[in-house]
């Protein structure tokens, strides 16, 4: 009780003391709150992002924007068996795997089964559709290829257009197998319910006949239903039978019943957490291996494995990035803590000395100040938690750097880790404070002289040569990066198909992902921050020299304020090293951050545009002039018979609203026969005039400008542009002729071209897919005697595809045959919402803004404090007769020097470090993420904004000081210097 009473008394004293320090306490608490808010937001943020990432990954790519709370889609597993050749396999052999997949797999995967289904498809038969055909003879014309197919639960998902659902039939008892046929086929072939036909199959034992009766004609009730994971159109040419007919009737009778089996498992994913990703991926591999063992030829066609591995990779990449970007921010926070604790302790130095001389023990002083510190920290923590949630909320709204225009999408919920972070920071601050106080309290009476002498010495880290030492790891990191080429060892990342194709690829991929742990060399991640830090400290070493130069120059003039400020800065480096470190760090990190963000943003944009080539890409078919018997356009028609397609002039696209340019771009596989061996690549046919108006182009794509390349194509109709690497490899030069074989609609056309130019990169081209040849589309069509469907690239202000496609296809006006549309901008908008994109930009933005805020607070604090601390000096100067104009100019120059040095050195350093390190920060899982490469962007606009901010900071600090100066009582200030 007595203890509590005493404690309460102490708390009251502490509160009183804090109150008596007014502004300083307020500024320090505010800074502390901001600091703790930011520190605590980072782990919660990382957690929220990775949770959302998992949900988004599990929900599939299409719903990458899913919010955290959105319903997760269940996992779908598709196992498939495809008979290698007719007669290879029988249903009896597949029964074991069938039972395993449908009954056991779910348990082995550890995921509750929601439902399962199975599709059985036989090898194709010839269905005679000519009524007068001879049932004994295999038809040579008037037939269609069809297969028997059975899927469970079919009846409830189809609507019968005609007839009835087939009875279960057994060829042993009933010669006719009852089947369903799709509405589309029935219409095309003119079939109706109740008719009977014959199926022919030619096997080793001769011709087998299956008489069928069309019991009914069907259509999918809802083609969008998840039941139709294979689109109903896939069954257009199928004769659907009840499962029992297939398994009990057909299977025993047929020798070659199994063309294809598909098992589909839908498993509940709602309890899968981030940590389960890798074990689950491994279990999937095990189940797949087991299925293979039971029946060779079964493979896992579709599973969340690739997504899980992708998730694992993205989170590890994301946490890497988050950590990498937190390091500089943390450094800044430390600089801030250093500054503020220094300021507060200096403030308390005299008070402590008084307390000591009145007999207070060291322990008591430590107790009181710790209590004060605790009060402040508790207050800051209490306000910091909601602040951190606000910060996360803001980060979740990040669309791009400092662009918070998305709807909020992260769950707001402080994690334990963030509380730990906050707690540790608080403890760190308290300890720093305590250490300084104990140091201060060791002297009972400190003299002004001692204090001054302390300030005249270089700071401790300079005496210890810390700045020089820091260069060693920074330089080593830079060297490593240079030799490694990227901050991450570029992985041979497994693609989704590779994972599906080879059974053990999954495990291998998991291993590869683990090996590629970006954290394995934290030095690389720390290198930029270390570099900045080392340079900042080193700069402080040079600064007194620079200021001495300025003082010398000022001494030659009649100036008073300028000279006093310059001399002060050149001779008391310890006095202002803390604020200057903070300024330089902020400026350089902000410059680096903003430049990195801008580079990433630009690169992000470049990636999308490179992939698509233009604002909007349309896939078009012209008007078909020839049809095959089934009604599809007969693309295989030979050239002698004339063109298959007719096209409306591409300029018609300009009539659509918003379209300012349109160009035809056609791409076909092409082979170049070089020194005997053919090299397969692609031929890109373009409209050389329009292309340069629509295409995305960057100067570094080729040595020549796009215009020059297009002119080269114009000068020679048979001209072709090729990749420089290809020309070099094949020792070809402009002017050489090049024979290409272009494959169009199943036919190969040998065509002679002349090389007229080269490029390093070309929109839509990824070198891993083989060489690209760019030539005149018209020339190609001339050579193949006819036009073929091409893509149309559009330049337009419009973003979404739909209204554009509507306008283009409107039968009343343009009536174009547009079958596909990709809007690059829409893609960018979509991609911006992806958690990994948002994750990085959210942190960069908030780190940037937080750093700015802290620095402004810290600097104001410093300015006010430094004035107070030099009150005696100010009083003496005023007593000696300095006019207030001279006093103001002294203060102004001091601020100007500090801010200007901070700005110039900081942004210079930031730019230097950006140029040095950003090229190595190009991260990507796929090779395509690296093409086109980064071009480092220096965020000048942001830098200017920071300059403006610091301009304001100067105005604020200066007007604050000028006000204090106006209220300065000389007699009081001078009196401070007396000891009696």
């Amino acid at each position: 009780m007595k203890f509590l009473h005493r404690l309460w008394a102490h708390i009251l004293i502490a509160v009183w003391r804090l109150r008596s320090q007014g502004g300083l306490t307020l500024a320090a608490s505010l800074g502390l709150t901001v600091l703790l808010g930011l520190v605590m937001s980072i782990p919660s943020y990382a957690d929220a992002v990775s949770y959302r990432l998992l949900s988004a990954n599990l929900a599939g790519r299409s719903s990458a924007s899913a919010t955290a709370e959105a319903q997760r889609a269940p996992f779908t597993f598709l196992f498939e068996y495809t008979g290698p050749f007719r007669g290879a396999s029988q249903w009896e052999q597949a029964q074991a795997v069938d039972a395993y997949l449908l009954r056991q797999a779910s348990a082995e995967l550890g995921l509750p089964q929601q439902n399962s289904s199975r599709i059985l498809i036989s090898f194709p038969f010839k269905l005679s559709i000519l009524p007068e055909a001879n049932p004994e003879e295999e038809p040579q014309s008037g037939f269609a290829w069809v297969n028997f197919a059975a899927m469970n639960d079919l009846q409830s998902h189809i609507t019968l257009v005609e007839g009835s659902y087939p009875e279960i039939s057994n060829p042993a008892t009933d010669p006719f197998v009852e089947v369903l046929i799709s509405e589309k086929s029935a219409n095309q072939m003119g079939l109706s319910a109740g008719e009977t036909y014959t199926l022919y199959s030619k096997g080793e034992s001769g011709i087998t006949l299956y008489p069928v009766r069309l019991a009914g004609i069907w259509r999918a009730t809802d083609p969008k239903d998840s039941y139709w994971f294979y689109s109903p159109r896939e069954f257009d040419k199928a004769l659907l039978v009840p499962e029992a007919t297939f398994l009990e009737g057909l299977a025993p009778a047929m020798l070659d019943e199994l063309g294809k089996i598909t098992w589909r498992l839908t498993l509940d994913s709602s309890n899968v957490h981030a940590v389960d990703a890798i074990p689950l991926a491994n279990r999937i591999t095990r189940v797949e291996l087991q299925a293979k063992k039971l029946f060779t030829g079964v493979y896992l066609k579709e599973s969340p494995q690739a997504l899980l591995l992708e998730y694992q990779r993205t989170t590890s990449l994301l946490s890497f990035l988050l950590a990498a970007f937190s390091v500089p921010i943390a450094a800044l926070f430390l600089a801030y803590i250093n500054l503020v604790s220094g300021v507060i302790i200096e403030r308390q130095r005299n008070e402590i000395a008084v307390l000591r001389s009145r007999g207070a023990t060291l322990f008591q002083i430590a107790g009181i100040t710790t209590l004060e510190g605790l009060l402040m920290v508790a207050l800051a923590l209490a306000t910091g938690v909601p602040l951190s949630l606000g910060v996360i909320w803001l980060m979740g709204k990040t669309r791009s750097f400092l662009d918070f225009s998305l709807p909020a999408s992260l769950r707001l919920h402080p994690t334990e880790l963030s509380l730990v972070f906050g707690g540790c920071t608080a403890v760190l601050i308290l300890m720093a404070r305590l250490a300084l106080i104990i140091e201060a309290a060791r002297h009972t009476i400190i003299t002004y002289k001692q204090e001054q002498a302390r300030n005249l010495r270089p700071p401790w880290w300079q005496r210890a040569g810390l700045d020089l030492l820091l260069f060693i790891p920074a330089a080593y990191g830079a060297f490593l990066l240079r030799s490694q080429g990227s901050i991450l060892p570029t992985p041979a990342v497994p693609t989704a198909t590779a994972v599906g194709a080879a059974a053990d690829a999954g495990a291998a991929a998991a291993r590869a992902a683990a090996l590629n742990d970006p954290f394995q060399n934290p030095l690389l991640m720390l290198a930029p921050a270390l570099g900045i830090f080392a340079f900042t400290l080193f700069m402080l070493r040079l600064l007194p020299g620079l200021m001495a130069g300025i003082s010398w120059a000022a001494a030659q003039s009649k100036s008073v304020g300028l000279l006093l400020a310059a001399r002060h800065l050149s001779r008391s480096p310890s006095f202002y090293s803390a604020p200057l470190i903070l300024l330089v760090l902020t400026l350089s990190l902000s410059t680096f951050t903003a430049s990195l963000a801008q580079t990433l943003d630009q690169h992000f944009y470049d990636l999308q545009y490179y992939q698509q080539g233009a604002d909007i890409r349309l896939v078009e078919l012209g008007q078909c002039l020839k049809f095959d018997p089934v009604g599809n356009c007969d693309t295989g028609a030979s050239t002698e018979e004339g063109a298959t397609w007719a096209f409306i002039p591409v300029a018609e696209h300009l009539k659509a609203p918003g379209v300012t340019a349109a160009a035809r771009v056609g791409s076909w596989p092409a082979r170049a026969s070089m020194s005997g061996k053919p090299i397969t690549g692609a031929f890109l046919g373009i409209d050389r005039l329009d292309f340069s108006q629509v295409a995305f182009w960057r100067k570094d794509f080729a040595a020549d400008s796009l215009g020059e390349l297009m002119n080269a194509l114009a000068s020679d109709a048979s001209g072709v542009l090729a990749a420089r690497s290809f020309l070099k490899q094949e020792v070809l030069y402009p002017g050489d002729s090049l024979a290409l074989t272009v494959d169009i609609a199943g036919k190969s056309y040998p065509i002679q071209f002349t090389i007229v130019g080269s490029f390093d990169l070309f929109p839509t081209w990824y070198p891993e897919k083989g060489p690209l040849f760019v030539g005149n589309l018209d020339y190609l069509f001339e050579q193949v005697q006819g036009q073929h469907p091409y893509n149309v690239w559009l330049k337009t202000e419009a973003t979404p595809c739909e209204p554009l496609v509507e306008a283009l296809t409107n039968p009343q006006t343009l009536a174009l045959n547009v079958v596909g549309c990709i809007s690059t901008r829409q893609g960018i908008l979509q991609e911006q919402k992806r958690p990994e994109h948002q994750g990085v930009f959210g942190l960069l933005s908030v780190g940037f803004a937080g750093a700015g805020l802290l620095t402004v607070l810290g600097f104001l604090l410093y300015a006010l404090f430094s004035f107070q601390r030099r009150m005696i000096e100010m009083g003496v100067l005023r007593a000696l007769g300095l006019s207030s104009r001279q006093m103001r100019s002294f203060l102004a120059w001091e601020l100007i020097f500090l801010i200007a040095i901070g700005l110039v050195v900081g942004s210079g350093l930031g730019i230097f470090v950006s140029l040095l390190f950003i090229p190595y920060l190009q991260l990507g899982s796929k090779a395509s993420a690296l093409i086109p490469p980064f071009t480092v962007q220096i965020a000048w606009e942001r830098i200017l904004q920071i300059y403006a901010l610091f301009g304001l900071l100067f105005v604020a600090a200066f007007s604050g000081l000028a006000r204090r100066l106006a209220h300065l009582k000389i007699f009081q200030a001078v009196k401070l210097g007396e000891t009696t």
Partner: protein, 225 residues
Amino acid sequence: MTDEPLIICENLWRVYKLDALEIAALRGVNLQVAAGRFVALKGRSGSGKTTLLNCLGGLDSPTAGKVRVLGHDLTQLDDEHLARWRREQIGLVFQSFSLLPTLSAYENIELMLRIQGEEKKERRERTLACLEQVGLRQWMHHRPYEMSGGQQQRVAIARSLANRPRLILADEPTGELDSVTAREILALFQRIVHAEGVTLLMVSHDALVDEYADQILHLKDGQVM
């Protein structure tokens, strides 16, 4: 003009207000100091000596009464004019710490002349002359923390001479010095007063002062006895 005392105080009051508390440091001081003399102002600690000196130097403004110094009514001057008046006509010496710690002895003195807007050559000559006068020429490039208390005080005296003041106000310049050094400083002051014809008003509670001063005033309970 020459007959008029350099300093005239009439019924000078200075009352400090601390929240509700009022402390009357000066209670109607009447004082006259004639030109060219070394006047010592003595009194106990807390008797109001510093307050009086501050009022005479225009560093503080009296609550009531009249202060005329060097022919100016200080109560009529605003802060800017007071600053200008000080830099042109007054020399100030404080108890301690009055030198700028980042400046060398030379620079501290030169600053005074710089404030006044003197030309470079004149600044240099005058500074060196002042240093010479206090015997610290060879210490000119040292900074205060490298000098002893007595040396620092001599630099402060040299600085107070730089602007060729008619009146030097010194607040316990020997307060922190040992008696040997204090004597040196007092002797220096005495020499300066007699050689330059400057008037010196020195606050002190040091008994040594009696040997050097031409006139001694006593301050007690805010009044000159």
